[in-house]
Symmetry: C2
Subunit: 207 residues, 2 copies
Amino acid sequence: MSVPPRYRAKSRVDVSGEESRAKAVAVATELFALTGFKGTSVAAVAAKTGLSQSGLLHHFPSKAVLLTAVLEERDRQDGEFLAGSAGPPLGWAAFDALAALVARNSARPHLVGLFVRLAAEATEPAHPAHAWVREHYSGLQRWLAAAVRSGQEDGEIAADAPVGSIVRTTIAVIDGLQQQWLLQPDEVSMTAEFEAFTGTLRARWAR
Amino acid sequence: MSVPPRYRAKSRVDVSGEESRAKAVAVATELFALTGFKGTSVAAVAAKTGLSQSGLLHHFPSKAVLLTAVLEERDRQDGEFLAGSAGPPLGWAAFDALAALVARNSARPHLVGLFVRLAAEATEPAHPAHAWVREHYSGLQRWLAAAVRSGQEDGEIAADAPVGSIVRTTIAVIDGLQQQWLLQPDEVSMTAEFEAFTGTLRARWAR
DNA sequence: GTCTATAGAGTGATAGAC
DNA sequence: GTCTATCACTCTATAGAC
């Protein structure tokens, strides 16, 4: 029961369009990572995608729309990774999941560079990604806070552990390590440092 | 034994030049903080300084030179603050000095924004401030590592404390807290979070 | 869906008068 | 030391042909 040829042909045209779009997102991710959002021109993304500037702007009517496509794709991938196959990790397992994400990022300096540069650029309220970066952080905080509270209910984490403080400091350590690692990739091990930090957390708050 | 009038007059002209220069550095600091280095035009700095673009470029032959002037001024001020009046603080006193710097920064969101945005932009090797940011971090690491080692020699800090790890994580916490504070100024207290963190360090490594 | 061509604004930097 | 005027370039976005 195969699809009639003429529909296949039409589908093939659509797929070509989808492929240009997907390739553009991948290229934009790489270039925004290398030179930041403001530092990357639409023309550069188009050239590396193999399109003219206008060809690219057919898919993304403005540079800001292209940026949101890049960010949504990254959040989608990281969300999948953090959620795990057996539902969201709770208690200390959430810190293990973060450690796994840090280890994974240690092999992707471009993506880390993109995030560090963009998160900093987008602290400016007028930046096109400002809403995204605010939601990104508060979402991460909510996710980790829920995991910690769940660990407290299970008796795995001390009931008097300061949830908000642990959440904010943990996220701060990840961000700060990324910054130092980008500058000193051979001297800083994000994985080792983050695991040393979570070890300290466990030593103090595990029950 | 006063200086002859004609030298005073000449001096007065020089002072006027110095004032334009100093004002330009202050304005550039503020604008780079608000919109990043790449996001700030020389024309904007000139306008807010009260000079034409060329008038500004008389003092700083290029935008990159203006940037280094801004960064050197900030490092000079922070270095003075951290060094203290009685020489560089050693042992746990170094963490107190950092906490004081964090508290001071909590009243200067523009300066924090400048640093966060610029440090991120400048992780790119081709950025005009790349050399500065690398030296800034390794200098800070050296300073704090020396203080910790001194504390170990004095028996104030455990001899088996992992110096490098403590240093990198402490700097990471400061950087990461700045990022979150810029996005959520009313929900995050950099001072409280940093002091909670150093409290954890002391609980584990104080002797 | 992709192209060429171009509008229209903004960029960093320079030349030369005062 | 500061100005006006201008150069050569890059940027995002649009119009319209194919």
